[in-house]
């Protein structure tokens, strides 16, 4: 009975279980019905046996009645002897009316204990394997005596016979059940196996459109229907899920694309921010910086966190700080735009002029969620502004100088004119007067020529007329112009020119003009009796022509600006020599037209100065070619 014939054994096949179930059922039915029938049969047997023996005794009592009535013992004995034909009856005793034993019969070969007195009670009594009957003998309402009959009650034999029949029936019916179940199992297991096969295919192929072929309307048919309906549901859901997945995938893709675009956009904005000095800034609704560009952080030498914690305010110039912070608080409170210039202390220790400019950012509901803007580096702007202002100032100065320079010659000319008109003027005086006028006019002409040239150079209208000339001729042409001033100031002139001839392919007028300008300057800014030295040196890069004087010299600060327009020394107006301050600028422009450069050198104020024109090698003409 372990596992109830294997019915609950999970490894056992349905077919096996069905077989076991059929056998078990058959056995239970057989045993139960057999037992019930045995009980019923025994009960019926007992009753019929009792009735049988009772009837026998009853008949015997009737038969023996007359013998007893007429006291015929021999007949009585003969009557009892008739029981010999009933093997089941073991003994019979006839008692007379007075209770004495009248006649008796005992089956041969049986030892039966006979009652000595008639049993008092009538009827049939079954007691173990014996049936005892006590029957009164009456005739014509007269009690004649009592008959006692004892018979076998063979219940064990009955049971054994019954069991024998039962065993045969059980064996036959079990074999029949086994054969029948083997046939019927096919009917049951075939649809189940079909279901299993379809289920396995579905698991393997994930094809939810498969269906089990319906078999009928029984329980398996119901299972098949339910399974098919379930498969339909699964198929539908799978399709819906795939659809959802596809939608989700697309959404994900779109989101990723959007994210990529957003990141690209952010990168673009960041790049824009980084391309601006000093980038962009973003604050929250409370005005706290949440983001500033790297360039601004680099300027301050602070981290993003430090800047967010008002680090930018601590870097403000002390003069700007309180006002700027107050203005920012007002701006945040009022939700206004921001536009303010201030100076910020950089990590380099210098103050940087910065223009911060921004507008509030509004959310969908119109509330301000922060501010965003840019930090503009306005340092160069400031410098340019300063430079423009300086240039303007120099222009004013230049105008004053020009007016002065143009006014200066007029006084001697007017004086000379008065002398010439005077009738009392001597011829010497008249000669002096003409010479004065001529000199002053030339001076003015030179001045105006210089101005025109500078103007032409700056406007790019000057064209060079190149020809091959020797360096000596250029120097001589320059000295021709400068010599009167040099001699008038009694300077000593020294020339240091190489022995071998040097030929140049330049515009001789312009180079000598530049050279004469340097010589005039040297003569002008050297106290009388000074010394001027002109030197020519060939080197790898070309040819250097230097003019050295023992004049007032230049301060180190003045050297870089000496070639700029209108940058005449401040004291120029006070000096008798005067000048427009355009000479050196003109020199630089002329030499630059030839691709050369001009440089100034001085040991310091009062220590003289050296100006050097450097012409490139391309202007040198080799002797062979010449």
């Amino acid at each position: 009975m372990k596992h109830l014939f294997g019915l609950s054994d999970p490894r056992r096949s349905v077919r096996g279980k069905l077989g076991a179930a059929v056998m078990l059922t058959a056995i239970v039915v057989l045993v139960t019905s057999g037992a019930a029938m045995l009980i019923h049969d025994l009960s019926v047997y007992r009753r019929s046996w009792a009735a049988d023996i009772g009837t026998e005794a009853n008949l015997l009592a009737l038969t023996v009645g007359p013998a007893l009535a007429f006291d015929d013992r021999a007949t009585a004995r003969r009557n009892l002897e008739a029981l010999r034909s009933r093997p089941a009856v073991l003994a019979a005793v006839l008692f007379a009316a007075d209770g004495s034993l009248y006649a008796s019969y005992v089956r041969e070969g049986r030892a039966v204990r006979l009652p000595e007195a008639p049993p008092a009670v009538d009827g049939v009594k079954i007691d173990g394997s014996r049936v005892q009957v006590s029957q009164p003998v009456e005739f014509n309402n007269e009690y004649l005596g009592r008959l006692y009959v004892q018979a076998r009650y063979d219940v064990a034999g009955r049971v054994w016979a019954y069991l024998g029949i039962f065993s045969v029936i059980a064996l036959v019916s079990l074999v029949a059940a086994l054969l029948l179940s083997a046939v019927l199992q096919r009917l049951l297991t075939a649809p189940i196996e079909a279901i299993g096969a379809v289920a396995l295919r579905i698991i393997r192929e994930k094809d939810y459109s498969l269906r089990v072929h319906p078999t009928g309307r029984d329980e398996i048919g119901v299972v098949v229907q339910a399974l098919n309906r379930m498969l339909g549901e699964i198929e539908q859901r799978t399709r819906a899920m795939e659809l959802t997945n596809e939608t989700l995938r697309q959404e994900m893709q779109e989101r990723q694309q959007a994210e990529t675009r957003r990141r690209e956009t952010e990168g673009v904005y960041r790049a824009i921010g980084e391309s601006i000095d000093y980038g962009v800034w973003i604050t929250d609704a409370q005005g706290r910086l949440t983001y500033v560009s790297e360039s601004f952080l680099r300027l301050l030498g602070q981290t993003q966190e430090q800047v967010s914690n008002m680090g930018w305010a601590s870097a403000l110039h002390p003069d700007d700080r309180d006002a700027t912070i107050a203005a920012w608080v007002d701006t945040v409170r009022g939700g206004d735009s921001w536009y303010r210039e201030h100076r910020i202390l950089g990590v380099d220790g210098k103050y940087h002029a910065v223009l911060a400019q921004g507008v509030p950012i509004r959310g969908d509901d119109g509330h301000i969620i922060g501010w965003a803007g840019i930090n503009l580096d306005i340092g160069r702007l400031k410098e340019t502004e300063e430079a423009l202002r300086e240039a303007d100032r120099r222009k004013d100065e230049f105008l004053a100088t020009l007016a002065h320079e143009l006014r200066n010659p007029l006084a001697p000319i007017r004086h000379a004119t008065l002398i010439l008109e005077s009738p009392v003027a001597s011829p010497e005086q008249r000669q002096w007067g003409r010479a004065v006028i001529a000199r002053q006019v030339q001076h003015m002409a030179l001045l105006l020529d210089d101005l025109l040239d500078v103007s032409r150079i700056t406007r790019g209208r000057l064209e060079l007329k190149r020809e091959v000339v020797s360096i000596e001729s250029l120097i001589n042409a320059a000295l021709e112009t400068a010599r009167p001033l040099i001699e008038s100031r009694q300077h000593q002139l020294t020339l240091d020119v190489p022995k071998e001839p040097v030929l140049l392919d330049v515009d001789p007028l312009r180079v000598s003009q530049a050279l004469s300008n340097l010589l005039t300057n040297a003569a002008k800014y050297t106290d009388p009796g000074g010394s001027i030295e002109v030197g020519v040196r060939r080197d790898a890069g070309g040819l250097g022509i230097s003019v050295r004087d023992t004049g007032i010299g230049l301060s180190a600060a003045a050297i870089p600006r000496v070639f700029e327009m209108f940058s005449q020394m401040e004291s120029a107006l006070e000096r008798s020599q005067g000048g427009l301050g355009i000479g050196l600028a003109l020199v630089r422009g002329l030499i630059a037209l030839h691709g050369g450069t001009v440089s100034a050198h001085s040991e310091g104020q009062g220590k003289g100065s050296t100006f050097t024109i450097h012409l490139p090698a391309s202007t040198l003409v080799s002797r062979a070619a010449g």
Binding site: N58, L59, A69, D72, A96, A97, N140, E142, Y143
Partner: protein
């Protein structure tokens, strides 16, 4: 057997009364161990006479005045025993009258017992009743030959009887085979049985 069973069953209705009578009869008939020594022949005969009526059927025409008449001749003791025995009993559903032989002319008994003390001619007496429904019981050798239906005799000191069914048949009486089965001898039957 079936008819007997039916007759037995039909008598069940009067069983309660009958059992009382039986007990009374037993007091007289049934020999107690002590009374067995004094086996009273007359009492046994009276009881046998009564019992005979149970095995015999009379035609309905036999009865006159609704009374079962028993005539006893030559046996006053038996007559007395009968009178006592049947004092409050009925036979075939009728009251019983036990009479002496003196008024034979006027009476038509259903049972006639002729004892040993009868002095007259038995054949002549019986001839008077021949052909009439009367059960004739005699108590002398040759009683059957004289025309009696039942005749008492003593076997081993015990009362037995022999029978002759032929006159009974001609008299219109029907005698049960059971009675024949316990008779010592049946005249004209299947040979004589000897004790």
């Amino acid at each position: 057997v079936a008819s007997v069973a039916v007759s037995v069953r039909s008598q069940r209705c009067v069983r309660a009364l009958a059992s009382l009578l039986v007990l009374l009869a037993l007091c007289v008939v049934a020999p107690t161990p002590r009374a067995a020594e004094a086996y009273r022949e007359e009492a046994v005969k009276a009881a046998f006479l009564h019992r005979f009526t149970g095995f015999v059927e009379w035609p309905e025409t036999a009865f006159e005045g609704g009374v079962f008449r028993i005539a006893v001749l030559g046996a006053p003791e038996v007559r007395d025993e009968l009178q006592r025995l049947l004092a409050d009993k009925s036979i075939k559903g009728r009251p019983v009258s036990v009479t002496s032989v003196a008024d034979r002319s006027s009476s038509k008994p259903q049972l006639l017992y002729v004892g040993r003390g009868y002095s007259g001619s038995l054949p002549r007496l019986l001839a008077e009743h021949r052909g009439r429904p009367v059960l004739i019981v005699t108590d002398q050798p040759g009683g059957l030959e004289a025309g009696g239906i039942i005749n008492f005799l003593l076997v081993n000191q015990r009362v037995r009887f022999e029978m002759s069914p032929a006159p009974a048949q001609s008299a219109g009486l029907h005698i049960s085979s059971q009675l024949l089965a316990v008779a010592v001898r049946v005249l004209g039957g299947r040979g004589e049985r000897s004790q």
